[in-house]
């Protein structure tokens, strides 16, 4: 870090140099404001180097006096990061005190925060899902619950992957994210995390997501991972479990809203995934050659078709061919809500005849993760049956109208 005294036109400004690149310099001036100048416009009166502590390192830390021990695994993302006031740099949060200070969490729980990685979730790969899963598995042996702090962008993907990999779990596995970073006074991270820890203290044997239920603070919803989807780019209540009410709400206490799987005596964790799966968005003008290229080399493809699960007629031979060559072709719908129904129109029936598997009301992204899991974990001849079998609550028996779901809240 350098401190500078510089002249800009008739003014003299002193401050810390925050950034100096592309012909532009930013100085945090003594009045607290950052000021940015064309370097050609300023004249340095003085520059001097200054020590500056870098807070970016994060270490495992354990705090609290509660009987229940909750492991909080930090993987990165908005929830785990805060901006350094001085430099504006983003650094991870490790001290639970920073998050829970003032609440009763640390008297009711013992919270162990462990850094796993520090990535924006859009950068995570299936290999990272396995790595997170392995650490969760390890933590779950001496914790009463595991919370995974995760970026919201791909939280549904990662949490679904864990839901499939954990056929049985000893303790709750709760994912938590935030849509406003922890350094903002208005951040949702504090309430989401407080709820997550409380959810992690129950007997739920599912992988689930703890996020705001509405734009207001005060009610956090627990959503089944394998039905979840991020439905808004920026709102606090961006996450939704498609076609299913939340498993539970937290508003100071945990209130279960419906039935859920309980924790098991033994954990069953199967961390194999086949990465040769892709997710393709069908659209008018997608031509057969391009489509064939996208499928080529994949063991399974999940297509987000139109309406009840359709593609243009000219792609069907490609699907038939791929299917005949052992690639599983799964039809979901880009509508997001509702079920596929390949028996209704001739396009659908032709797709079925070509070997397409329908995903029913499975969320497209979850279908994608499930395909990776099935290919990695089971013999291929079981793929079709298992794909249509409800393994973790990813398939809904009934498509209940949203009006009823709203009333059930």
């Amino acid at each position: 870090m350098e401190r500078a005294l510089l002249r800009y036109r008739n003014s003299v400004i002193s401050g810390l140099i925050i950034n100096e690149a592309n012909g532009v310099i930013t100085v945090k001036s003594s009045n607290g404001y950052n000021m940015t100048f064309d370097k050609s416009e300023v004249e340095f009166i003085e520059r001097k180097r200054e020590e500056y502590a870098d807070h970016r390192k994060i270490e495992a830390i354990e705090k609290g006096q509660g009987e229940k021990r909750i492991s909080v695994l930090a993987t990165g993302g908005t929830i785990a990061s805060r901006v350094d006031y001085e430099t504006g740099a983003v650094s991870p949060v490790s001290d639970p005190e920073l998050i829970f200070g003032g609440s009763d969490i640390l008297t009711r729980f013992t919270v162990a925060v462990k850094p796993v990685m520090n990535e924006f979730s859009e950068n995570l790969k299936p290999a990272d899902w396995i790595r997170i899963g392995e650490i969760v598995a390890r933590e779950s042996s001496d914790s009463d619950g595991v919370v995974v702090a995760h970026g919201t962008d791909t939280m549904s993907y990662t949490s679904s992957a864990l839901a499939f990999m954990f056929e049985a779990m000893r303790v709750p596995i709760i994912f938590v994210g935030s849509q406003r970073s922890s350094d903002r006074p208005s951040s949702d991270s504090r309430e989401n995390m407080e709820a997550a820890i409380n959810f992690a203290g129950t007997d739920i044997g599912e992988v689930a997501i703890s996020m705001h239920g509405t734009t207001s603070d005060g009610r956090i919803s627990l959503l089944r991972a394998v039905r979840s989807r991020k439905m808004h780019t920026s709102r606090r209540d961006a996450f939704e479990s498609i076609g299913l009410p939340p498993i539970a709400d937290y508003d100071g206490i945990v209130k279960f809203m419906g039935s859920y799987r309980k924790v098991s005596e033994e954990m069953k964790f199967s961390p194999k995934l086949d990465e040769r799966v892709s997710l393709i968005y069908f659209h008018p003008g997608l031509n057969a050659d391009d489509f064939e290229n996208m499928i080529s080399g994949k063991h399974a493809v999940v297509i987000m078709g139109t309406g009840l699960g359709h593609t243009a007629r000219d792609l069907i031979p490609v699907i038939k061919n791929a299917s005949a060559n052992g690639t599983y072709v799964i039809m979901t719908s880009q509508c997001i809500y509702g079920s596929t129904g390949l028996n209704v129109y001739s396009t659908g029936r032709e797709l079925l005849a070509a070997g397409a598997i329908e995903a029913g009301n499975m969320v497209p992204e979850v279908a994608f993760v499930k395909a990776m899991y099935l290919l990695g974990q089971y013999p291929h001849e079981q793929f079709r049956d298992l794909f249509r079998t409800n393994m973790r609550g990813e398939i809904l028996d009934r498509d209940v109208p949203e009006e009823t779901l709203r009333i059930s809240r």
Partner: protein, 600 residues
């Protein structure tokens, strides 16, 4: 020590909101509400921001009323959009006119504010210009910064621990112009505020509304800096500075008195539960208090006669603080017995506390759970005053000022990473150049020339910064009549009724008056009724604006002359006014008087 006065003048702009494309004005009522809390961890605040920790301690929750001129940005549910370019250009134009060095890049910052008035918990603010000056009759006053910020949410009410805000005002662009403490006295402060005002308002991009211009006054006379927040009228600047000077002088006297007696000490200040002494009291305030809390009392060592005694008002300093925590029942020995308490009751308490002649006693009705906190807060405040460190944030209250909160520390600021740094390129510079702020002299000259009104009226309009109102009114009614309304009639009515009407309402009245072809007497009467009824249509349909016909006037005058045969030509107008509240043309009334008189 010299008095030092600085101003921060804030102007709302009418350009549309700063970080989204919502309009500045709302057209409908409440859409829905939501609730939030704001969090700030103690370790983060550290020793830095007493004001913030004061808010945090109050651990309130905030309810926001969503107005139709707000979107996800105001709800803190999506990142800000790029700043409004016209607002930027206006801020640049103002900076230039103040001789500032205009930034070649504008960098938005987040200033932490956790009283809930910003849904984000911070205010977005950027410096546009630095290091300017404005010429005044007392020499140049330096301008430290011109900032373009977002306005805060409008506070609606506070109930229990919930503060209710409306989002209608949140995000309106606010130009903030800060002077150095170069201002020498209250008259000078008014002059500076006015001079800055011309520049901004004459751009045409300032919002016209009751609270569209707000000043913060920084005042210091050697006892620490006091910031008086949210002074909305020019005249009030003068009043609050005067009041503040007197307050500090009187505190100096009180402190000296107490010191001379030996000062205060912490050990003697202990709030004790004295409720039992009041089990049979007839004092309403105490009896009500005992229903929800207890009565506490403490000695105020050596403070007798400084609490409320002539100009000495230490009692108010304590009461203001306690009241800011929502506690109302504060009494002290300078005003006791009183509040329905008997001398005996009071004496019992005094005795129990071992009060000697020089000591004062404080009585508070409150929730026992908060005693230790309040005790500390009160003593800290007294101690601070005793050390003549009077720095704090205060607010105007009529022509006085009241304690608001401790003086904030250095602003907790960090970069607004959601808003990229804005390069002031050629297009923005050109847009700024098309906006021409004008000075007082230029405005006055223009008014006289364009509208043919008196220089005196033009100066009033210019100095009250109601140029825009005048120009719009002059399109509807005769310019000289408009000037009269603005400079005389409206201020009179405001004084009489204690009300300030929305300018749009007054303009609508003028518009309708034009359509209905009312004469000036009718319009003035309608305006008077408008202040009474607050509705343009109600004012216009009121029977009082029906003008007296010649026949009606003659009848009325005959009537008057029947009982008061001695009524003179000079007295007749007043006598008619006594008998009717309908309007009439005084000239016609004179004619009628002459005629009736002649006929007799």
């Amino acid at each position: 020590m010299d008095t030092k006065i600085g101003l921060e003048v804030h102007f709302q702009l009418n350009t549309g909101k700063l970080f989204c494309r919502c309009p500045v004005e709302q057209t409908q009522d409440e859409m829905f509400r939501f609730r939030r809390k704001l969090h700030i961890s103690a370790s983060e605040l550290g020793n830095i921001d007493a004001a913030a920790s004061y808010e945090s301690m109050r651990s309130r929750s905030f309810e926001y009323i969503v107005a139709d001129n707000s979107c996800l940005v105001e709800m803190d549910e999506e990142p800000p959009k790029s700043p409004n370019r016209l607002a930027l250009a206006t801020a640049i134009a103002v900076s230039r006119s103040l001789g500032c060095d205009v930034m070649d890049h504008i960098t938005y910052m987040r200033k932490i504010v956790i009283d809930g008035s910003n849904t984000t918990g911070f205010q977005r603010t950027a410096i546009v210009g630095i290091n300017g000056r404005i010429e005044t009759s007392r020499g140049p006053v330096r301008i430290s910064t011109v900032c373009l910020e977002e306005d805060a949410a409008r506070k609606i009410e506070e109930k229990n621990n919930v503060v209710v805000y409306s989002l209608d005002r949140l995000g309106i662009p606010l130009i903030e112009i800060s002077t150095e403490p170069d201002i020498v006295d209250e008259e000078h402060a008014v002059e500076v505020a006015r001079s800055i005002g011309y520049l901004v308002i004459s751009t045409g991009n300032a919002r016209r509304a009751v609270d569209a211009v707000r000043q913060d006054v920084n005042f210091s006379m050697g006892y620490g800096r006091v910031e008086i927040k949210g002074v909305s009228k020019l005249a009030q600047i003068r009043d609050v500075i005067r009041y503040e000077r007197e307050r500090q002088e009187n505190l100096r006297i009180a402190v000296d008195t107490i010191r001379s007696r030996g000062g205060i000490d912490r050990s003697s200040f202990k709030l004790k539960d004295v409720s039992d002494f009041f089990s049979n009291t007839k004092s309403k305030i105490i009896r009500n208090g005992l229903e929800s809390g207890r009565i506490f009392a403490s000695l105020l060592k050596n403070m007798a006669g400084t609490l409320k005694n002539g100009k000495l008002r230490m009692g108010k300093e304590i009461a203001d603080l306690v009241r800011s925590y929502g506690i109302k029942g504060v009494m002290h020995s300078d005003e006791l017995p009183g509040y329905g308490l008997t001398a005996e009751e009071v004496e019992t308490v005094y005795r129990s506390l071992g009060k000697s002649e020089n000591d004062a006693v404080l009585l508070i009705v409150m929730d026992p759970a908060r005693v230790s906190f309040i005790e500390n807060a009160i003593f800290d405040r007294i101690q601070k005053i005793m050390s003549m460190d009077l720095s704090e944030t205060r607010g105007p209250s009529g022509d006085e000022t009241v304690f608001l909160r401790p003086m904030p520390g250095k602003d907790r600021m960090y970069p607004e990473t959601d808003v990229p740094v804005i390069e002031v390129g050629a297009d923005l510079a050109a847009m700024a150049s098309s906006i021409r702020p004008r000075t007082y002299g230029e405005v006055v000259q223009d008014l006289v020339k364009t509208y043919g009104i008196s220089k005196q009226n033009a100066e009033y309009i210019a100095s009250e910064m109601i140029l825009d109102l005048f120009q719009r009114m002059a399109q509807l009614i005769d310019a000289r009549e408009a000037a009269r309304m603005i400079t005389q009639i409206i201020p009179d009515l405001e004084r009489k009724t204690g009300k300030v009407l929305d300018q749009d309402k007054i303009l609508r009245l003028c518009q309708r008056s034009k359509e209905m072809q009312l004469d000036r007497y009718q319009l003035e009467k309608a305006l008077e009724i408008l202040y009474e009824k607050n509705s343009v249509e109600a004012a216009l349909s009121d029977s009082r604006i029906r003008e007296l016909s010649r026949q009606e006037l003659e009848d009325l005058i005959s009537d008057i002359l029947n009982t008061r045969g001695d009524a003179t030509r000079n007295a007749i107008i007043a006598l008619i006014r006594e008998r009717t509240d309908r309007v009439f043309d005084p000239r016609m009334a004179m004619e009628c008087f002459n005629e009736v008189k002649n006929r007799r």
